[in-house]
Subunit: 386 residues, 2 copies
């Protein structure tokens, strides 16, 4: 299994997935485990008294914000079901590699998977709408679209074709725009820049003249140090500080235009889901929804602390991208998204629903939270961010 | 039971609580019901196979966003427990009046209550910190404080003294600043204004020269029509449109400086909570956390639609409060909050924790979501809200 190939074929965001210690192909052991699980469940249609489900994840075990969230989800289900449905978490590479999570859930070798929908763009072009697209919905907006704007129904339809039931399960919040070794003062400064920019962001960066480089997370630090990379987009302060990127770049850019709020997903094998009794279905659903919030809370609190540390203790320089760069990134994003959904009716329908929700919510958020935040900056005499 | 006295003594926000059809004092019937419940549960320490719990609410049954959320919470618990813990929802006035919810949960005549902590300012001055305070935390920020900033522990301690276990369970998001019959162009225009402004907002409005009027929700519409009121703060577009306030006032002000994100609460009688088996405890906890998000999603999606309708179909004029008014409101808010916690060590400790979290999170949110929203306004050529 060529991990580099995976990464470059799919294009990753949320940095962490690329951190994975991939190991060799564990398909055989996955199959063994699946068979053992099936045997334990018995052959009948009604579920056995006690089930143990495997939850494979696209992140290393216990990875802050992502792996910790998967652990809490598993604890919730196990506790709420009084142990009737035990969930065991596997870090990326333990049972299947990070990029094998979708297929493992699809073929039932794992009952559940915790990952991000945009990893599966190679399976279907519409998957990024269920994580984040450039200049798209924020965390709260995507939650509202999924739960009250028709998003869940479209997601069920899309993933249903792969035999998977999806649920929202976590959010990184607005990410940062990445680490740069030199200041970016104009569009010209982007030209030729070797940048690790995942997924759609990489495609957009390429179209505006940068040279996106796909590489596993483990190589990013050294590449920044040697100059093989000029810039790198990772996740946000919480994960970036731990990863040490402030040691190899001075400038930390915002906003995370490419990921205004990256929603994570809990995937459940649909046959297994359909066979669950109603109480366990309700338990899995509420556990995912509760954890959807809790993961975002963990990111928010720890991002705040980490950012303070970066600025106060490590001298990290915060910079906002210049207007002309942001305008060009937006214009190009629209083209890339159009190209993404072109020629695929289902992708276009999902895009139209997403777009129409964005059109509805943007003017409301402007007079609600956005205005409240800007007014708070004013009264606190804080420089209002652009 | 004098409802007006209640309302003016406590000071209400979230408009809806004041809508309540209060009815007469239902304490006797509440007691009867409690006794019947206790009998059904049996006298032993271990819970009976099936329990039915009463959930009293500070809102009318099925009230959009608030009552609907209570209904879903009850359905979640009932479904997840496979009917072992059935939760029955009572609208305000059905079993106890809106403002009797805290005492009903405290004395165990209802096992659970859905309300907002700032209604109980008369019980303890620190309760508003667990809903919203002027220029305070947004919805996501208060969730993060509660779950990862020490807020839950402080809330448990505070409510524990009243024999209540509290959990977050819903959020209105940033509210609006209220309906005004005339434009507000300066601080001078606020002077003498008869305004229905609940809770801390009323106190602040009074200090800057307005005349806050406390009145039941049912009288607001007529009072605005006759000129007995010049302005009224209700909730947000979703509830305000249904309430018809656009018919009696032209100007809809933002931002909701007094409630940047009003968190709702699920209260559980602590003896009943402590006696729950672990699986049911886990179920109640995840149900509240899942609904915490879901209610906010319902508000976001419907506020967006309602605002569009108000502006496009009813000619509502959106106005931002002038800078000098907002600066004065903030300055006065700080004094009112200082006075609120003065002389109460526990209140001061809670305030210090809240304030310290705000200081940590504000600079992070500025470069994350706030910047992303402002940049989105720029690239979409949308007038950036102040």
């Amino acid at each position: 299994m060529d991990r580099r190939k995976f990464v470059s074929a799919l294009g990753l965001g949320l940095g962490a997935a690329a951190l994975t210690a991939c190991g060799q192909d564990n398909k055989d052991s996955a199959k063994d485990a699946a068979q053992a699980g099936a045997a334990a469940e018995g052959a009948g249609k009604s579920p056995a008294k006690t089930m143990e489900w495997k939850l494979v994840t696209a992140w290393p075990k216990n990875y802050p914000g992502l792996g910790t969230g998967a652990n809490r989800f598993a604890e919730r289900v196990t506790a709420m079901s009084g142990g009737r449905l035990k969930v065991k978490v596997y870090g990326a590479g333990e049972l299947v590699p990070a990029m094998g999570v979708f297929d493992a859930v699809r073929d039932g070798s794992a009952e559940m998977g915790h990952s991000a929908s945009y990893y599966w763009k190679g399976k279907h072009p519409a998957t990024p709408f269920f994580t984040a697209v450039p200049f798209g919905l924020t965390a709260q907006e995507i939650n509202s679209w999924v739960n009250f704007g028709g998003g869940q129904e479209l997601w069920d339809e899309l993933y249903g074709e792969f035999g998977i039931k999806p649920l929202p399960c976590g959010n990184s919040g607005t990410q940062m725009g990445g680490w740069f070794r030199k200041e970016v003062n104009s569009l010209e400064d982007i030209k030729g820049l070797k940048i690790r920019a995942p997924g759609l962001a990489g495609e957009i960066m390429q179209r505006i003249g940068a040279t996106p480089v796909q590489m596993p997370g483990g190589e990013v630090f050294t590449s920044m140090q040697t100059g093989a990379l000029d810039a790198a987009d990772w996740v946000g302060p919480y994960n970036d500080l731990a990863f040490g990127l402030h040691k190899v770049a001075d400038y930390y850019y915002y906003p995370g235009w490419a990921e205004p709020g990256a929603m994570l997903e809990m995937m459940i094998n649909k046959d297994k889901w359909d066979a669950l009794p109603d109480d366990l279905k309700a338990i899995v659903k509420s556990a995912a929804e509760a954890e959807n919030q809790h993961i975002y809370d963990e990111f928010t609190a720890h991002n705040a602390e980490a950012l303070k540390q970066l600025v106060d203790e490590h001298g990290t320089q915060l910079r906002r991208f210049p207007d002309e760069v942001l305008m060009k990134l937006h214009e190009t994003s629209e083209q890339v998204i159009q190209d993404l959904v072109a020629g695929n009716d289902q992708a276009r329908r999902i895009y139209e629903s997403y777009k129409s929700f964005r059109e509805s919510v943007v003017p409301y958020v402007a007079v609600a939270e956005q205005s409240a935040l800007n007014v708070r900056s004013m009264v606190l005499d804080q420089k209002q961010p652009g």
